[in-house]
């Protein structure tokens, strides 16, 4: 950069110097950081506990669909809901799409490959730390400085924490949309449907009280289901 500035200053004719300056300014413009206000950010949490692992093939389709719809500058991360999900190591793949379509396509292919590998090699976890995953998602999307922030939870929403883990905090979800995808009914829910409804209302209350929007999408085949 210093050499470039030096070249501009030392250029003899003023016209040539002006041309160099214009090129420099244009180059500067093209190197500026993306305008985050218009970018979308998605943090998708995948439940890997118990029998829900079987649903991951469907989750992979959702991820691929989202990848296809994302545009330049958008941020996308997929993380697993583990025993303790408030951790960077649980992020399976993350990407901020490049402005050039060819690079963005390459990033999308790599992302899809990572997810494919994960789905094929996944081992179910003993516990389900949804709150930790949401907290991690909030941190990630806040750091990404995107315009529209969406956290997607691909889970049955049954939180099961290991001993010693405390998750009784209030979430700060101003400007966030939290979508619960494919919330399957458990065997206990079939016996007592109220348990399922209570689970949904509990999470809804938690998100809304934190300032976020809450949505439940069980029919993923609807065209508007995954519209951001």
């Amino acid at each position: 950069m210093r050499q470039l500035i030096g070249a501009i200053v030392s250029a003899k004719p003023w016209g040539f110097r002006a041309c160099l300056l214009t090129v420099f300014l244009l180059a500067g413009c093209s190197e500026s950081s993306p305008d985050a206000r218009y970018a979308k950010g998605i943090y998708l949490l995948l439940d890997t506990s118990g029998t829900y692992t079987q649903e991951l093939a469907k989750a992979q389709q959702v991820i691929n669909y989202l990848l296809a719809t994302l545009e330049a500058g958008d941020a996308f991360a997929v993380a697993r809901i583990d025993s303790g999900s408030f951790s960077e190591k649980d992020i399976i793949a993350k990407v901020v799409l490049d402005g050039r379509p060819s690079t963005a396509n390459k990033q999308k292919r790599d992302f899809a490959r990572q997810i494919d590998t994960f789905v094929k090699q996944v081992k179910s976890s003993a516990y389900t730390d949804i709150s930790g995953g949401i907290l991690q998602g909030v941190e990630y999307l806040n750091e990404a400085k995107v315009g529209r922030k969406t956290i997607m939870i691909y889970s049955d929403l049954k939180e099961d924490l290991p001993t010693g883990y405390v998750r009784d905090f209030d979430l700060t979800l101003d400007g966030f949309t939290v979508k619960a995808l494919n919330v399957t009914k458990l065997r206990a829910d079939n016996q007592n449907p109220q348990a399922y409804l209570n689970r949904l209302s509990q999470w809804s209350e938690k998100v809304v009280s934190g300032g976020g929007n809450w949505q439940v999408i069980n029919d993923l085949d609807k065209p508007e289901a995954l519209t951001l």
Binding site: C29, P34, D98
Partner: protein, 479 residues
């Protein structure tokens, strides 16, 4: 509390009547100043609106004069340009076609001379009568009884024989000379034809000159009318400008459609070059870059047409030295060609990116590559994209012509619209002023209606007084 009391007070009939009477009396006593005040207020409003109408009308007149001047000036410039063009063309025609007229005249003269010579050569020379005819006559008149008659008869026979031989010779010579004449006359035919063709050609050229002269006469007539500022010329120019505006607007709309299509053709590949994540004022940099390229093409087209003196959006370029103008023309043409080639390359790149995207989506959807499955030869859209990418920028250069017309006629049209708007404002102001004036009269009448009872009493008293005065006047007269 006060409101309740007032309502209670008004609720009782005696109080209400007292108040009514008091108010009527007060209104009656204040009639004169009230009338003056109402009149003053409404008259002031009336005068104010009239003044406003007058001012707006003056502005409208000034605008109308200005519009007229502009229209006539534009018309004059156009007429001058048309006349210049017509004179230039006729000058070119005269130099090119009639410049060879002296040569043509010489050719005609030569042909005529040749024909005349041939004609002279073909003229028949009458054969002279033989001199000895008188002698033959004399011998023939000698009587047959004369002894010398026999001799004469032999002489005559001899003469007859000689005459027949000579006649045959003469006839042969005559036939020969006639054949020669016919041959000469036959040789004259091409010269006649050439002469007729030359004369026809001259006639056609003169007819063309006459037609052009008539056209110039008409243009001169129009020019004179514009210079004189006649209403007919003004009306014609106004009608012409509206038509031109509509046509130019339509063409510009078509060009905008072309530009829109062009934009979509290059916006995606531009994102490969400058990236599409960055935004300026909410618009993607790639979109802005594509727009800049289209604007550059249009600008280069405008400069090209300006340097060719087809348009006159920048009179400075048209009035430049021919060398500089030619340099601008070459630069603009080169820039256009470069940009058109760039767009063609971008169109190629767009096809590649679209194919890559389709492949990615297919792979994400778990389907095999979409390439080759469609049954459509991919080279056809690719070639069409590239051709369009090259042609559209060149086509966009032509937008300068309708743009010039649009700008020129929009001034006249907007001026006319403003004139109509001001005229409508004047009418509304005048109508409002008139309405206010009459409203004042109505309000005064309503005021009098409120105090109708005391006025009626006053009228009665006045009538009585008048009657008494009349009686007094009558008694005075009797006295």
């Amino acid at each position: 509390m006060t409101t309740v009391n007032l309502q209670a007070a008004l609720g009782s009939w005696p109080t209400f009547l007292i108040l009514l009477l008091g108010a009527t009396l007060a209104l009656y006593l204040a009639r004169q100043p009230a009338h003056q005040t109402i009149h003053a207020v409404f008259f002031a409003l009336y005068r104010m609106l009239r003044t406003c109408a007058c001012t707006v009308n003056k502005t409208r007149e000034r605008l109308a004069n200005r519009n007229r001047d502009v229209l006539l000036e534009q018309g004059r410039q156009h007429a001058e340009r048309d006349l210049d063009k017509a004179f230039f063309e006729i000058n070119k025609f005269v130099q090119k076609d009639l410049g060879g007229y002296p040569q043509l005249q010489r050719d005609i003269q030569e042909t005529v001379n040749r024909i005349r010579d041939d004609y002279d050569n073909s003229r028949e020379v009458p054969t002279a009568a033989p001199d000895w005819l008188d002698a033959v006559n004399a011998i023939a008149t000698i009587k047959q009884t004369d002894p010398a008659a026999a001799t004469n008869g032999r002489i005559l026979e001899q003469i007859h024989h000689s005459a027949e031989v000579q006649h045959k010779e003469n006839l042969a010579a005559y036939r020969k000379s006639t054949a020669n004449r016919h041959r000469i006359l036959k040789a004259m035919t091409p010269y006649w034809r050439k002469l007729a063709y030359s004369v026809d050609e001259v006639g056609n050229r003169l007819k063309e000159i006459t037609t052009r002269a008539q056209s110039i006469d008409q243009q001169m007539l129009k020019f004179n009318e514009i210079v004189a500022g006649s209403h007919q010329a003004e009306r014609a120019l106004k009608a012409s400008s509206i038509t031109q505006f509509v046509i130019a607007a339509l063409v510009i709309a078509v060009a905008a459609g072309g530009a829109f299509f062009n934009f979509h053709l290059i916006a995606l590949p531009m994102s490969e070059m400058v990236g599409s994540a960055q935004r300026i004022g909410g618009v993607k940099v790639a979109d802005l870059a594509a727009l800049v390229i289209i604007c550059l093409e249009t600008t280069a087209g405008i400069f090209l047409l300006e340097s060719l003196r087809i348009t006159q959006l920048f009179p400075l370029i048209g009035s430049m030295d021919d060398r500089v103008r030619r340099a601008i023309m070459i630069c603009a043409s080169c820039l256009l060609l470069i940009l058109a080639s760039t767009e063609s390359a971008l169109a190629f790149m767009r096809d590649q990116i679209a194919l890559d995207l389709a492949n990615l989506r297919a792979s994400l959807a778990g389907v095999d590559s979409a390439e080759g499955d469609s049954g459509i030869n991919s080279w056809i859209p690719l070639a069409a994209n590239m051709v369009l990418g090259f042609i559209l920028p060149l086509a966009l250069t032509m937008v300068a012509i309708p743009l010039e017309y649009l700008l020129q006629t929009a001034r006249t049209l907007l001026g006319s619209l403003a004139e109509i708007l001001l005229a409508a404002t004047v009418s509304i102001l005048r109508l409002t002023a008139s309405g206010i004036k009459h409203t004042g009269v109505v309000v005064i009448g309503l005021y009098d209606l409120l105090i109708a009872a005391p006025l009626w009493v006053e009228n009665l008293i006045r009538q009585k007084q008048r009657k008494a005065e009349n009686q007094y006047a009558a008694q005075t007269e009797e006295f």
